[in-house]
Symmetry: C2
Subunit: 186 residues, 2 copies
């Protein structure tokens, strides 16, 4: 009985915390009874939250990889804890992007992309930085949605690499099937 009351108390406390959390409202509005959201639902959720501000809403493609970045059980869905983790990352990326996009054109320049990526702590060669700009830029400029897609993939691929770089010497060995799973999920 004491145990039940204690559990009930904890449950109520959690509910109160959630009720005061505006993120819970955005999440709850699209999550079904399974408390998981799909890429399309994430897109809806992020659009209604207004996190993109005056920038274009996130594309479905970017929402797919946002889910994949945190999808530890490879369900293709996102729970509330992952959603909160994504939210924190998105805010960091948005703040950085807006710092460079002072005229609110919705794009940043190539050298600003390089500075942004370096400011996140990635140590990449000029060649690698140019690959990022080539893939995510258009005419040398990068849009907010593409910038976020780049950040999502760079973060997730780096984490996957580090897991396999067991000697921490900047080299990782992949088995073919594992390589395809890691790289094609993003």
């Amino acid at each position: 009985m004491n145990f039940l009351i204690q559990n009930l108390g904890q449950g109520l406390q959690q509910l109160e915390q959630l009720a005061g959390d505006p993120l819970w409202g955005y999440f709850q509005a699209v999550a079904g009874p399974d408390q998981q959201i799909s890429p399309r639902e994430l897109q809806q959720c992020l659009t209604s939250s207004g996190i993109a501000g005056t920038y274009q809403p996130f594309s479905l493609n970017t929402c797919y990889i946002m889910i994949a970045m945190l999808d530890r059980d490879r369900s293709g869905q996102m729970g509330f804890n992952e959603f909160k983790e994504l939210w924190a990352a998105l805010n960091q990326w948005k703040t950085t992007f807006m710092n460079f996009d002072r005229d609110r054109s919705g794009t940043i320049e190539g050298h600003e992309l390089h500075q942004a990526v370096t400011s996140f702590g990635y140590n990449l060669s000029p060649n690698a930085l140019n690959v990022l700009l080539g893939r995510y830029g258009e005419n040398g400029r990068v849009k907010f949605d593409d910038f976020v897609a780049l950040c999502v993939r760079l973060r997730a691929l780096t984490a996957q690499f580090q897991q396999r770089d067991t000697a921490r010497n900047g080299h990782a060995t992949f088995q073919y099937d594992d390589f395809i799973q890691v790289t094609m999920s993003l």
Copy 2:
């Protein structure tokens, strides 16, 4: 003098061959004087060629990775030889897709995706095949554009892996910067 005439002759022969090549027409219509096409020009070019048939035209995202797949000099552009190589691959993928999409719904099912990928010679685990379906499918079905994007990336990533699998034992070691260049360019 003989040398000049011979060169001129060869040049004319090449021009005649090109003039008779319908692909050259599609390519030439969008390529500027540098004889290279950008992702947007490739999209235009493929749309006007009608290769997607009754399927939706290729998205800009798919056109980006089509170029990256064959972009050996990492220029972000495509020359005529690469365009012909892409064309051959596209025809193989389209034929395979249409074989499964008998009712011309524009989509194939998950198990058909697995069969298609296996028929191309890739030896992937059920887990890896599910990753592909999760990333490129929606409600268990895969659209033609997404199928082609999947095929492009799978082909390019496999080729990059094999280049580094020097012992041909299904394991490849990547240096971090190289890993990011390979995976983020696609």
